[in-house]
Amino acid sequence: MGQTALLNLSWEQRRKLTGLLFVTPTVAFVTVFFIIPLIMTIYMSFHDWPLFGERAFIGLANYEELGKDRQYLKSLDFTFRYTALVTPPIFILGFILASLVRHNIRYIGIFRTIFFLPVVIGLGVSSLLWVWMLDDRIGVFNKILLDFHLVPKAQLFLGRPNTAMNVIILSVVWKTVGFTMILLLAGLQAIPDELYESAEVDGAGYFRKLFYITLPLMRRFIALALILSVIGSILSFDQFYIMTRGGPRNSTISIVFWIFNNSFTYFKMGYGAAMSIVLLGILVALTGAQLYVLREKE
């Protein structure tokens, strides 16, 4: 019976059915792992929802609480500052590396692999690695600085707010620059060589080619890399949790770190959910703005 029903469908109907079948797995996946948790989070955010114990509907009280939470505002500020500081080096370095490994010359794969290698180790592992490299007694950085007499005594890199931020940025750039390099490399290689050749005939120098050919034609790739990088930075957690535990003086508590603390250490799941929803709104707005700025002009 089912077979006859299928056979009776017109070509157009069957085409639609096929399309539906193709997207069903994705729709199911997104529903189970995104839509349902999202609705659940929104629901939780209107409740006093301890990790265990009684739950109570409290309306917008969690959201009102946000404005009074000094650490929440501090964490927002910190997260945006971190994002603003970590994004340019990842991009500039990623672009330089991509330019260096752009052409398919002999052994270039070795360099691409070396630059990409840190990307494939976990952020948790790399954070621990950096903690040891930055250690004041056994760390390699202090060893080098002391051997070259660049510092009078061992430095506690993770012990002061400014240096802690800087060395974490250094470690994250090292860890993620390879990924940006690959994205930008794909963009670079998509530009036909003829464009450069004719520009050279017209007498264009390196920077003219860069600003009038390379960057405009890479717009989509830059947009993708930028969005991924900014979202990753705003959602960062591991490096702060592992390298500084939010210290010193609670100066490196990112927004996700604070959501984690409230939800799982202070057991205020509803409050954590409210913060997550606000963060989601911020991310949607930011991503929309980036897409708008980097859109292809008709």
């Binding site: 990790l51 506690l156 535990r245 010193p248 609670n250 770190f257 603390n261 799982f264 250490t265």
Partner: protein, 416 residues
């Protein structure tokens, strides 16, 4: 048809494999036990139990700073351990949330229920019901290096008994050399400093919480400020290694074993560790003093409890009750330098002639243990107000700012 037979075969394999553990399990009880930072006696208790009983216990060590988070997550996920050795300070919070098995009836049947350490029993009590019994007694005190004291011309038989004397001793030891320091504290460890810094305030008659544990008294009690000034002086004069400022507690005990530290406030757990791993360390201990004298200690340690949701509550209690009997209390606790949790057993053959043990035990007599359900949020949380206040006051020297911030954040948390 090939696919069908393949599927049937796969099903058969899955069924056989799935039934194997069941067949092997029989009706043996397997229990899990969680403990924060391992003590010598815990592993030995579990090993001894496993060797002599049908039921088996698997011990998991959870880092102290993450214990509450992990325990909360495990309970919420419906996968709690069967037995938990919990920092006594958290018992009110877990009991209040209904996450521990009420063991009042079990406790009543214990012949030595009245002999168990009072601080632990008090913390294990919630609304008149028992939820935990003691399993590790840990009072804080000051350890000092006898050799360094002698080299510095200090009298090891007459250790410091006021804040000024602590400071003078730290200065004298620090003067011995570039790599020798008078004092150690773990500057990035919240819990360590609740355990060792609060007694300085208590011994002087001050406190950071009101007597009913309902409000914060950081801003109004001048002794809080003066104690912060003491540590700030120790830090600014370089009497402690610079690395102390970023120690998250991993060197809480080990720093002192290096032999270049004059004094370090520690607790009983360190005594058994030194005795087992560093028999050559020439150290002695004294009570943490008040400003003008007196003494205080943090009455700390672990209680043992049965998390709600376990299927093996009876067997878990059988293990717990056994740990309180004479044999393990003497042959496992005392033999490892750990104070028995039954007061009548503190005088035992292993402690005879070791004055350090009697000082450590007497620290319990001056012990304080705050009773509050938000203890973790206030004191032990690495991002909590306690550590932030200490760091701003001691390391940055901004004592006014630190006190203001501490008072505000404490109040915020205590008001919920």
């Amino acid at each position: 048809m090939k696919i069908r037979s393949f599927c049937l075969g796969l099903l058969a394999i899955v069924l056989v494999l799935g039934s194997l553990p069941l067949a092997a399990q029989d009706d043996q009880i397997n229990m899990t036990m969680w403990v924060r930072a391992i003590n010598f006696q815990t592993q030995e208790l579990v090993d001894t139990w496993n060797a002599n009983n049908d039921s088996q216990i698997e011990l998991t060590v959870i880092p102290s700073a993450e214990f509450v988070t992990k325990m909360g997550a495990a309970i919420a996920a419906g996968e709690p351990p069967d037995i938990a050795s919990i920092d006594l300070i958290y018992t009110p919070a877990f009991a209040a949330a209904g996450q521990l098995v009420d063991i009042t009836d079990f406790v009543r049947e214990l012949p030595y229920a009245d002999d168990l350490t009072p601080a632990h029993m008090a913390l294990g009590l919630y609304e008149g019901r028992n939820y935990a019994v003691p399993t590790a007694v840990d009072g804080s005190f000051m350890a000092f290096n006898v050799d360094l004291f002698e080299q510095a011309g200090l009298d090891p038989d007459n250790p410091p008994s006021t804040w000024d004397e602590v400071l003078e001793a730290a200065r004298a030891v620090s003067a011995l050399g570039d790599d020798i320091y008078g004092y150690w504290f773990s500057g990035a460890c919240a819990g360590c400093n609740a355990f060792t810094f609060l007694p300085f305030i208590w011994a002087s008659g001050g406190d950071v919480l009101s007597d009913d544990y309902a409000t914060a008294t950081i801003a109004e009690d001048p002794l809080v400020r003066e104690a912060l000034e003491l540590y700030n002086t120790i830090w600014e004069e370089g009497l402690t290694p610079e690395g102390a400022s970023i120690d998250n507690g991993s060197n809480f005990v080990s720093a002192f074993t290096g032999g270049n530290i004059g004094m370090a406030p520690l607790g009983n757990f360190a005594l058994s560790l030194f005795q087992n791993d560093h028999p050559d360390l020439n150290f002695d201990i004294f009570h943490i003093p008040g400003k003008e004298g007196g003494a205080a200690s943090f009455g700390g340690g672990d209680v043992i409890a049965i998390p709600a949701g376990t299927e093996h509550a009876e067997e878990a209690w059988r293990f717990i009750a056994w740990t309180l009997t004479d044999e393990p209390q003497i042959e496992i606790y005392a033999a490892n330098g750990q104070i028995p949790v039954r007061l009548a057993l503190v005088d035992n053959k292993y402690f005879e002639g070791d004055e350090r043990q009697s000082i450590a035990a007497s620290a319990l007599a001056v012990g304080h243990t705050p009773y509050t359900t938000v203890y973790n949020d206030l004191f032990n949380d690495p991002n909590g107000p306690w550590l932030e206040m200490l760091q701003i006051a001691i390391l940055d020297g901004d004592i006014d700012g630190a006190i203001e911030l501490g008072q505000e954040r404490f109040t915020q948390i205590m008001e919920g």
